[in-house]
Symmetry: C2
Subunit: 255 residues, 2 copies
Amino acid sequence: MSAHDIGRQASRRRGPAEEARTLVSSVTVAALATAGEDGAPWCSIVVYGPTRDGNPVLLVQTDSEHGRNLLRDPRASLAINEPGAPGDPLDRPRITLAGSVTRPQGQNYEDALDAHCVAVPAARLYAGWEDQLLCVLEVQQVRWVAGLAATDALSRDEYRGAEPDPTAPVAAKATAQLNRDHPEGLLAVAREFAGARGAVSAYCTGIDRYGIDLSCTGAGQSAPARALFDDPLAGAADVRPATLELVRRAKALGG
Amino acid sequence: MSAHDIGRQASRRRGPAEEARTLVSSVTVAALATAGEDGAPWCSIVVYGPTRDGNPVLLVQTDSEHGRNLLRDPRASLAINEPGAPGDPLDRPRITLAGSVTRPQGQNYEDALDAHCVAVPAARLYAGWEDQLLCVLEVQQVRWVAGLAATDALSRDEYRGAEPDPTAPVAAKATAQLNRDHPEGLLAVAREFAGARGAVSAYCTGIDRYGIDLSCTGAGQSAPARALFDDPLAGAADVRPATLELVRRAKALGG
């Protein structure tokens, strides 16, 4: 691989729309903003599952504040963040989705219920009750905040067209496994595939469908580096074989 | 202690307003609902610190969506939940606060900034910048949800008048310590002070300023029980001595 190839490939990572869709698919708890009778905003905690288009499906009680609000005014907004993530909450990824809720019918109802039940399996038991309102937030506006001073407005089509990273559910565990089991392999990957020829140690800081992020040390410094998979991974099951293959090839090259 | 005393005392635990104030004081990340120019709700993630009255102090950028919204329409609502808590998110405590934001002046500004900076120490560095808006949500309406089908509307005065439980910040750690170091002491507490005479084991499930919650087993069953401190604890530093004293007295009685 030439230096040119490294530079070109290393820029391949999830874009804002992919990050947004991945976050929305990784979380099931959100805050919902609705408008009260007098127009005053009301914020409440809800649980959702996203449709294939990334539209969150909610199941709300019709006699709750937000249920009554939505029946009167379908405009709504959801805020989603990664609650468990460490560090400064203002420097963590988060997203606002805004639009209007619709009440799906027929097959659309079944599909929406399936999407919601991925997040809340028990909802299948009570979704049909009279006081339950299944509704889909048809996303029109997206504000993606990657961290401090890093924010993007996404168009509806950018958001819809992107795909959640299928490796996200297993990335944290696979990262920990790599660091525990393959410290020398990661150093070889850093030297052979991430351009960090002078590294004396390498630590994996993250995995996504396109590659792995490393923090390399050498000459008393530390610096980030990135190595890419040959092709984007199609699913969570590919993470372990793909990372092990990267390690194997790097070690073979490093001799 | 008579059975009557046990029954009377065991009912002493945090009420909804105290629970609400404790949750608001334990968390610093919230979702904020504001009204857009056309009245459409907008939800975003913010960081806050509460005043002594439990009014959340926010520091928002004036050029953010919610900053522009609040400058136009001060009505706002915050939703707060305990993000790290395990279990079904719909069965976890959460709260909605609603009211209007005000911009404090003079000494009120300094007090509000102090309250915010407990949550975000770095805010002191940039709170004075021109694009930063320090504002206080003057709470008018409170919806407290303890879990599934357990919800309370609190009056403004009930909310303001309650005190956050000062033991909350250390309760989880103290609970773990008790279970690790004093399994026999907890069994004595269950038998002597919690009315569970036939218990063969006891596990501490929570500590608050009024007492400790236990899960007791015996005769192939498990059941909750509760033992109270003589007086409500005044601070976090009292938790360890008070629980150890309870254990000591129970063991002495149990012989």
